[in-house]
Amino acid sequence: MIFNSLDFAIFLPIVFVLYWFVVNKHLQFQNLVVVAASYVFYGWWDWRFLSLIIFSTIVDYFVGIGMGKSELPARRKLLLWISITVNLGLLGFFKYYNFFLDNFISAFSFFGTTVQANTLNIILPVGISFYTFQTLSYSIDIYRRKLEPTKDFMAFSAFVCFFPQLVAGPIERATNLLPQFGKPRVFEHDKAVDGLRQILWGLFKKIVIADTCATYANTIFNGSELFSGSTLVLGALFFTFQIYCDFSGYSDIAIGTSRLFGFHLNRNFAFPYFSRDIAEFWRRWHISLSTWFRDYLYIPLGGSRGGTWMKVRNTFAIFLVSGFWHGANWTFIAWGALNAIYFLPLLLLGNNRKNLDMVAQDSWLPSPKEVLQMGSTFALTMLAWIFFRAENMTHALAYLGEIFSSSLLTYPEVFPKKMLLLLLAFLLVEWAGRKHEYAIENIKTSFHTYPRWVAYGLLLATIFYYAGQEQQFIYFQF
């Protein structure tokens, strides 16, 4: 089931009523409703893949219990490896099996040996990269004694499959989300209203901005050999906004929906396109994944301690793995590598933690220096997205080749002025709300009731105007 569908518009009020009116007096029943609703939500795509979630839930639940009972380091380590093997095994098989096999065959053929092997017709289960990482963090945190294992199987199941964030995050840590399933929930009017507002903004980003940008980005990327460099730059620009609004829109809807049920999820995006350098960008983009890799990969590898070589190695490791997490394609690895190259100078010069606050914190407009910094960071990011969006490396390199040719200076064949104006208006709204958790959060304090309702109405009408065919969210494929 996708958020921008009629199915979800019917599903959400039903679950809301069941949760707050039918089973509101019993915590266990509320958790049961969450689990059942989440399985329905997930099974809407393909009920067969529910078995993977259930399997992962059972394994990690017992691994957690086992680690909690044991004081023997060897036994605890063994249990941790069981969890890692099961979760990464599922991920590896469903997501990377064919990729490794293809590259294995190619490598042998390069040396003149022909290897016969059949690739499998594997369907990637939606959201597998997200829930496997979430359950892994649970096992690792117990192993590190940062978290006590839960004995409440229902609460644990709800933590693993919580429907708002099940298929595309935010990837929640057990330390934040799991305890919330153990506490009685009280309905809070203001939080629920805030949740609805964030859902509305998320839908706007997805349906109005991302899906409209997608039509242009798809046309330009799919026919890139037909277009001039200037059009290809526009294609990259549209994709840059598409991916941001698609993914952060999803996160907004997930966080808003959770709020309706009395849960707090962590922020996943913090206006990344207003970043002044790449390090800041990565503190603001897909925060839940970046911090996951930081805590469970970068720091165990030594982080930024040690010598220069260690720093370089660890930086590349985290970015390459992050790229590979997105998909079994060399383009994602190239995207990760490019970001590592952008990031390294900052790290080596000790400038990677220079811009920790929001740009223009105390003023309305940025300084010329900040504009330049934001512009250059945005351009670098946009360039990297070309690899992310391209079909393969040949496509990406040809795309870049055409951009850096004389045709860059010609008038673009595709130049949708209205769409560009819409993007500008969107950026202004984001800029105005940049000091808040999401762009229109401050509407509650800046507007009186009636103008506020009119603003919501206009937002809803715009969504309704652009709504048409339900488009999948990009991050479902990861």
Binding site: L196, V414, F464, Y465
Partner: protein, 309 residues
């Protein structure tokens, strides 16, 4: 909790009613003057002719690029031009022809190269007010919220679009002649040509299957069907040549319907086009109609004493 629920229901209720009311402001039905309403006149004409008709079916290339009166004079057969919008999609267009074609008719299909199979649902909904076959089509291919709500949604979008964008000249019901040809553009200056935004996907297996099914239907019903490529701008042709050659190969190999043109036949200099790469201007239309007459003559079997030499 109650306050939240009442407020939410009130807000969404008010919004729904307001949008419904706005959607009702948009003119529809038989008397609409908008471009798609030309369907009403086109269907009226075709249903009023009892003898065999030469039916032109396809996208807007037929609106801008054909002089049906000249075709009629030269081929000695009444002509009805059903062409309107390529985005109606091949399936919808074929369904529309099935509704009107009868024994002895000759159907000339001329689809733009991007040849969408399904087409745009909003256009189908809009058409559903103009003829019964379109209504049936919408009922048989339900999408979204159901026919009533989808229709109101489409009308709301149309209302907003009409209020926020300038009406394009040459795109109104009144800009057609009695045959169903667009004529307003003939006396207009060429606006700037928009490059094709439609990258041609050469894989048209599904569409070819639909065309073959239509051919079988025509055989049973006793009408003839031929396929002619759409006029196309020279530069655009060069850009898409690889995909077009592949499409041409597939059509010749797999399509049962007779293809009466080559790719180059209807590829014209850029100066022959009006506002996009498929829409001919007056000069291009004249040239294209003459070529079409030549290619159709063997299909129509004009009695030798009537043939214009």
């Amino acid at each position: 909790m109650k306050k939240f629920i009442y407020k939410t229901i009130f807000f969404f209720g008010i919004c729904a009613v307001t949008m419904l009311l706005f959607s009702l402001l948009e003119e529809d039905g038989e008397n609409s003057t908008e471009f798609m309403a030309a369907m009403v006149d086109k269907h009226k004409r075709i249903k009023s002719i009892e003898e065999p008709v030469l039916i032109l079916a396809g996208g807007s290339n037929l609106v801008f690029g054909v002089d049906s009166e000249q075709l009629e004079r030269n081929l000695h057969m009444p002509v009805a031009n059903l062409g309107l919008r390529a985005h109606l999609g091949l399936n919808f267009i074929l369904n529309e022809v099935k509704d009107v074609a009868k024994k002895g008719d000759i159907v000339v299909l001329s689809l733009e190269y991007f040849m969408e199979g399904d087409g745009e649902h909003d256009l189908h909904l809009l058409s559903s007010y103009y003829h019964n076959a379109a209504l049936d089509y919408c009922e048989e291919h339900p999408k979204g919220l159901g026919l009533f709500l989808d229709y109101r949604h489409m009308m709301f979008k149309k209302m907003v679009t009409n209020y926020t964008t300038k009406n394009q000249e040459a795109y109104a019901r009144t800009d057609f002649n009695k045959y169903g040809d667009g004529i307003k553009h003939l006396n207009m200056q060429n606006p700037s040509i928009q490059g094709s935004r439609y990258v041609i996907d050469a894989n048209k297996d599904t569409e070819i299957k639909a065309l073959n099914a239509f051919y079988d239907y025509a055989q049973i019903e006793g009408f003839k069907v031929v396929y002619a490529y759409s006029p196309y701008e020279q530069d655009e042709y060069q850009k898409n040549k690889k995909a077009l050659l592949s499409l041409d190969r597939d059509l010749r190999k797999h399509m049962k319907i007779k293809l009466i043109t080559s790719l180059e036949d209807f590829t014209y200099p850029n100066a022959s086009f009006f506002d996009n790469v498929y829409h001919l201007n007056a000069k291009g239309r004249k040239n294209h109609t003459e070529k079409l007459i030549q290619l159709l003559r063997p299909e129509v079997e004009v009695p030798s004493e009537l043939a214009i030499r």
